[in-house]
């Protein structure tokens, strides 16, 4: 109680308390301490990534020597995977299926999120409840019936066979993230457009859509990463290069014989599939963080 009261007065008189001169020395020391801890975090985050890069640069003969840094550097693993149809086809499938699923999910989620953030209608809680239930659903539990159904109607091992589940499981997060973004938009502008005579739908397209773009782009990136990363559906609902995505293809890379693991090929493919996502993350880091936390916490 008294603490709460104290807060209000401090908040009113001293909005920013950190870095006062009296504490500066101590504060600076603490900063150094935290930064040291963060340095450790960075090293821990990056070592497995560096390791897979190093492994991808080892010659097949030295792949099993157990050293972190290759003794003989080579790009032959990359040449290998780009010369085999398995990987290039999988890359094409991953990009195509990922982009289409993401686009469909973001379109459907945008319209739903607009209604949730903006319009007054019964059943608003129903759609949020359905979205939450879908988000919590164990995807592996859908694999059996989808496998069965897809085989009957000819969607097994096709693009739509993966696009449909990807889109569906991307919808809940998209709806949550987008409605969090849409709630921040200055909607007075839309009312102004409506006063000027534009019907609600036109007001949405002409005025609000451009303002909503940052949120939509963020959602697109987050959803694309999710589709790009999926393994459960990819391994269960595909069997050939017709629709196999990279994660599934990597898990089934053939070795020279049944008992040799193609370490170099796996590592090189892993690096190639990681690079685009890494670039997206580094470029849009701030937005992705905002989107993820808005969807989950403000959700």
């Amino acid at each position: 109680m008294s603490v709460g009261a104290a807060t209000q007065t401090t908040a009113a008189t001293r909005p920013r308390t950190r870095g006062r001169t009296g504490f500066l020395g101590q504060q600076a020391k603490r900063e150094v301490g935290w930064s040291g801890a963060l340095f450790i975090v960075i090293v821990c985050s990056l070592i497995p990534v560096l390791w897979i890069v190093m492994l991808s640069l080892k010659t097949p003969a030295s792949a099993t020597d157990g050293s972190f840094i290759p003794h003989h550097w080579t790009l032959s693993n990359y040449k290998d995977i780009f010369n085999t149809g398995i990987f290039t086809d999988a890359l094409r499938n991953s990009i195509g299926i990922g982009l289409i699923s993401t686009a469909l999910a973001v379109i459907l989620a945008s319209s739903a999120a607009y209604a949730i953030a903006r319009l007054d209608f019964p059943g608003k809680r129903l759609i949020l409840a359905v979205a939450l239930a879908v988000a919590m659903f164990p995807q592996i539990s859908l694999v059996g019936p989808l496998y069965n159904l897809w085989r009957q109607i000819g969607l097994y091992d096709t693009w739509p066979g993966l696009i449909i589940p990807y889109m569906t499981f991307a919808l809940p997060l998209s709806i949550y993230v987008l409605s969090a973004f849409f709630r921040e938009i200055p909607w007075e502008l839309e009312q102004a457009a409506q006063v000027d005579g534009a019907p609600p739908f036109q007001a949405f397209i002409r005025v609000i859509a451009p303002l909503a773009m940052p949120g939509i782009v963020t959602t697109f990136i987050i959803v694309f990463i999710i589709c790009w990363n999926d393994f459960v559906f990819a391994i269960s609902l595909t069997s050939t290069t017709a629709a196999q995505t990279v994660p599934a293809a990597i898990a089934q890379f053939p070795g020279v014989s049944q008992f040799t693991v193609p370490y170099g090929d796996i590592a090189a493919a892993a690096v190639v599939v990681t690079v685009p996502v890494m670039l997206l993350v580094l470029l849009f880091q701030r937005r992705i963080v905002a989107g993820l936390t808005a969807g989950a916490v403000k959700g």
């Binding site: 975090v41 099993t64 059943g123 979205a131 592996i140 059996g144 599939v273 880091q285 916490v297």
Partner: protein
């Protein structure tokens, strides 16, 4: 939080009771229905249909190797699953991984979140690098760690001076799998907790400090209670995710060395043994367990904050 959920429909209620809606309200509802329908229909069709199908299949003897021998068998598939030692072992494996991995992620995630919250040095860079494990393809993360731990290829056995292959026995495999999960998912946990930390006013902590509270007391008495809703949401997300663990175990050893999880069992029953009846029973049981965990979090600890607050205005 729960008040938000209860209070939100209240203003709408009198409007609904009004006999004639205004033209504007009616057009608003029509627009809302049109906008929401596609997403709702897709989610219901793609998830609800298979759920019903799973439940129906779980009550049948359905084996793709004998397609013409399908027959309604009541609950006997459930009896088979629940009386099989492998089911209970897999429940135990899954629970071990879930509890340990989620706890470590929470502890490290909290430290990471506090560090990101407190430091001003290169915060953007840190967040980007912290996001890398989150964004990396799960299969790639699993391979990276598996190849690092394996005696054949990896650097970890050399570093630790191990003579045997850590992945050839149960304990080593569990350690490796949990390290992988922790590495991949701690940043996400940290981001959620960081958002929660932002809800704790600096002034409150400063005031407590002036009143003589130690850093430890401030953390437990002020920071933790104020960010409790964020903590619960983060824990709920991660617990459910760990409980459904599949990719990492599949890549490591497909459940050998006593690490088979429920999802792994579900997959192998459905797609390796092609026994849809038994596999569907496992699916339903897994779904019930996930629902139970969510229910315990939401009702038991009040993690309903997120969906409740999301009801706008």
């Amino acid at each position: 939080m729960s008040t938000g959920a209860v209070a939100a429909p209240a203003p709408a209620a009198p409007a609904r009771r009004r006999r004639r809606l205004t033209e504007r309200a009616r057009s608003e509802r029509r627009l809302a229905a049109i906008l929401v329908a596609p997403a709702l229909i897709v989610m219901l069709a793609v998830v609800a249909y298979p759920i019903v199908d799973t439940i129906v299949l779980s009550l049948q003897r359905a084996d793709l190797r004998f397609p013409n021998a399908n027959k309604f068998v009541g609950l006997s598939n459930y009896g088979h699953v629940l009386s099989a030692p492998v089911w209970w072992q897999d429940v135990l494996h899954t629970a071990i991984i879930t509890v340990i991995a989620a706890s470590i992620q929470f502890a490290l995630g909290m430290l990471l979140a506090l560090a990101m919250h407190r430091t001003a040095v290169a915060r953007g860079l840190l967040r980007s690098i912290g996001l890398i494990p989150y964004a990396i393809v799960a299969v790639v993360a699993a391979y990276s760690w598996q190849l690092a731990w394996s005696l054949n290829s990896g650097w970890i056995p050399h570093l630790l001076g191990l003579s045997g292959d850590p992945l050839s026995h149960t304990f080593g495999t569990y350690v490796a799998i949990i390290v992988t999960e922790v590495w991949k998912n701690t940043p996400f946990m940290a981001l959620l907790l960081l958002a929660g930390l932002a809800l704790v006013p600096d002034e409150l902590l400063e005031a407590a400090k002036v009143d003589g509270a130690t850093a430890w007391q401030r953390f437990w008495r002020i920071t933790i209670p104020l960010m409790w809703p964020a903590i619960l949401v983060a824990l709920l997300f991660r617990t459910l995710d760990e409980f459904r663990i599949f990719d990492v175990i599949y890549i490591f050893n497909q459940g050998a060395q006593g690490t088979e999880s429920i999802s792994m069992l579900n997959y192998s029953t459905l797609l390796d043994r092609l026994n849809l009846g038994l596999g569907s029973a496992v699916s339903v049981l897994l779904f019930l367990l996930v629902a139970l965990i969510a229910f315990v979090f939401i009702k038991g600890f009040g993690a309903g904050a997120a969906p409740g607050r999301s009801t706008p205005r």
